[in-house]
């Protein structure tokens, strides 16, 4: 319907006349510059913040950064895979508990447990994506729901390792002698900034572009040697690795892990954060998404029952606006979904 209308507009000139909606593939150069500068400014402000502010704000922000990473992991899956997962809490928990368990049972610090968490997240993502590799993404979403629901029972009943309801504490420093609040904050910030830079580079890479083609036209991608199973498995493994990283950072930044942080809803909340950030993989989008899902429950604690309604409305509104196909879309900086 939409495409046929576009085709009638077409004339034999190379480019549509003025008024065409700019596609996200190539933001205006000025806009891109603006974005870069804005990101640099944000990073600069965040970098000097610890000198100016109290430790509670720093703690809150560290959690924001960790959640922003989790939001990014979902956004990457949506943007490059066109898939939805509501079970990313599983991979986040995997990363978080890897750090906690390696410290508690093996006395290992973050220098070892962080890479281990990444590796575990990668393997888990791979194993999870393989069964549905040739099928529609719907099956992945359904399976991810099972992932989210089995997480609490695993955490609670594997008490010997996970500490059950109580959870575990993380107390080892990354760099001994530096203030605890400081190293938690800077580790989370550094991880977030580095991941955003890596993702920006990924967008122009061979693999990134192949995934974008496979998302839009799986059969065309197949004709250029990009198979659906390769696309599905690689993007999911990548996304799960990121989620696991986010969990490791979260565990270190909050110095505790417990099943409370990984309920049935956590995975859906990461998706909410991603949708609110318009599934962007930029620093700003991630911070908005991570900020919303961290701060709203914190500040609306008294009105906690309204949080699901608020989030649900956000999902609906953003999705409806992004797909309205009319003038409303012009208010969005990029294309959602």
């Amino acid at each position: 319907m939409d495409s046929s209308r576009k085709q009638q507009v077409a004339v034999s000139e190379l480019v549509h006349p003025k008024g065409a909606i700019r596609s996200p593939a190539r933001p205006l150069p000025e806009l891109r510059n603006l974005r870069t500068w804005a990101s640099l400014l944000v990073v600069a402000v965040l970098a000097v913040l610890p000198a100016l502010s109290g430790s509670f704000l720093l703690y809150s922000l560290s959690l924001c950064f960790a959640n922003a990473l989790a939001v990014l992991s979902v956004s990457v899956l949506v943007r490059y895979g066109g898939e939805v997962s509501i079970g990313h809490s599983f991979f986040v928990a995997l990363g978080a508990y890897s750090v906690a368990i390696l410290e508690k049972h093996f006395g290992l610090g973050l220098w070892i447990s962080l890479p281990a968490a990444l590796a575990l997240g990668f393997v888990a993502g791979l194993l999870f994506a393989i069964p549905s590799r040739r099928m529609s993404g719907i099956y992945l979403a359904v399976a991810s729901m099972a992932l989210a629901l089995c997480l609490p029972e695993l955490l609670i009943h594997m008490e010997r390792w996970t500490g059950g309801f109580e959870g575990l504490y993380i107390s080892r420093d990354l760099v001994p002698g530096v203030s605890k609040a400081g190293q938690r904050y800077y580790l989370a910030l550094a991880a977030l900034v580095l991941v955003c830079l890596a993702l920006a580079h990924f967008r122009g890479s061979r693999q990134g572009m192949a995934l974008l083609l496979a998302r839009a036209h799986p059969r065309a991608a197949e004709a250029f040697g990009i198979t659906r199973s390769w696309a599905r498995i690689s993007i999911f493994a990548l996304s799960a690795t990121l989620a696991s990283l986010s969990g490791a950072v979260l565990a270190f930044a909050s110095s505790t892990v417990s099943p409370n942080s990984f309920t049935l809803w956590s995975g859906i909340f990461y998706l909410v954060g991603s949708v609110i950030g318009l599934q962007g993989t930029s620093l700003i989008a991630a911070l908005i998404g991570g900020g919303v899902i961290t701060l709203i429950p914190q500040y609306l604690a008294s009105a906690g029952d309204y949080v699901p309604i608020l989030y649900g409305a956000a999902l609906l509104i953003v999705t409806l606006v992004a797909n309205s196909g009319s003038g409303l879309r012009r208010f969005l900086p990029g294309k959602a979904a």
Binding site: V78, G82, E83, V84, I86, F128, I130, P131, S132, R134, M135, S136, G137, I138, Y139, A141, V142, A143, M145, A146, L147, L149, C150, E153, L154, H157, L264, I268, L271, V272, V275, D305, Y306, V307, P308, I309, L310, Y311, G312, A313, A314, L315, L316, T319, L320, A322, N323, S324, A337
Partner: protein, 299 residues
């Protein structure tokens, strides 16, 4: 060895109660599959709506909201549930022909709103909701068959029978089948796609309500039991191939029995993990469901 020697004793009750609860999972799965077949949307709000519906029956009959008889409470809740089903469809109607991704996110949004409504109206408490049926039962070997079991089987048979009658024998059913097999062609032929979608959404909601009402007496009513029920219904749908109505019913029974066996012989604590395993194994080895032997035609 003791487990093996006790097998003739243990197995029949396990199979029987698995069959009974499996019928309910099948009803839940049928609603999912009907919606998916006709509108290609996986309705993640299905369980939340069923949960809300059960809470409404509780609210209307317990005095929390109203103080009606059980029958009137069910009738009122049924009406409201159907209306919510229509509203839910109306909200996502503009997204139905977009990507899987978009409609999935939208149904999750609806699910969250319904969930929040439950929490606000009924709080996070756990309530019990009994069926108004006599509590008789009789033994049959090592089996014990109760009025509840017979009610579930009868209601399931009635619902499935009614559904298949509508689909096989009425004009709406013919339109439904046509839309399921080729939405584009049926639109060209002048069939009202939206009407068919509404039919499937409302039927799904009603099936969900019935299943929830029947399952609640065996557990309790809380948001988490509904979430688990939803997962079981999804598993049943996957086992049945996700786009086959008979598959959904059979899938429900298979999953119900398998869950009973797992919980008795292995562990009752890792039920959802077991369901995850069932989903993964089905997707890997029977991507079109247990019933479908022929390959191809997958979505």
């Amino acid at each position: 060895m003791s487990a093996l020697s006790a097998l003739p004793q243990d197995l029949p009750p396990l199979l029987w109660s698995g069959l009974v609860s499996g019928c309910l999972y099948g009803l839940g799965a049928l609603g999912l599959v009907m919606v998916f077949k006709s509108s290609k949307v996986v309705n993640f709000a299905h369980g939340n709506l069923a949960g809300l519906a059960a809470f409404l029956v509780y609210g209307f009959s317990s005095g929390v909201l109203l103080n009606l008889s059980w029958g009137s409470a069910v009738a009122l809740a049924l009406g409201l549930t159907a209306i919510i089903g229509v509203l839910g469809y109306a909200v996502i109607a503009p997204l139905v022909f977009k990507s899987d991704l978009t409609s999935t996110i939208a149904t999750l949004g609806i699910g969250l709103i319904l969930q929040g409504t439950i929490q606000i109206v009924f709080g996070a408490e756990i309530v019990s909701l009994e069926l108004p049926i006599p509590s008789f039962g009789f033994g049959l070997g090592s089996l014990r068959i109760t009025a509840y079991d017979l009610t579930v089987l009868a209601v399931t048979a009635l619902m499935i029978g009614g559904l298949f009658f509508v689909i096989e024998r009425t004009r709406l059913g013919i339109a439904f089948r046509a839309v399921c097999s080729n939405p584009f062609a049926s639109r060209v032929c002048g069939l009202n796609l939206r009407l068919v979608h509404l039919f499937s959404w409302v039927s799904g909601a009603v099936l969900g309500l019935v299943a929830a009402l029947l399952i609640v007496p065996t557990t309790f009513l809380s948001s988490t039991t509904v979430a688990s029920f939803m997962l079981t219904a999804f598993t049943a749908a996957v086992v049945g191939g996700f786009s086959s109505l008979p598959g959904a019913a059979v899938g429900g029974i298979v999953v119900g029995i398998a869950m009973n066996l797992f919980s008795f012989y292995v562990s009752p604590e890792f039920m959802n993990t077991f369901l995850l395993g069932v989903i993964m194994l089905t997707l890997n080895f029977f991507p079109d469901g247990l019933l479908e032997k022929a390959a191809g035609g997958r979505v």
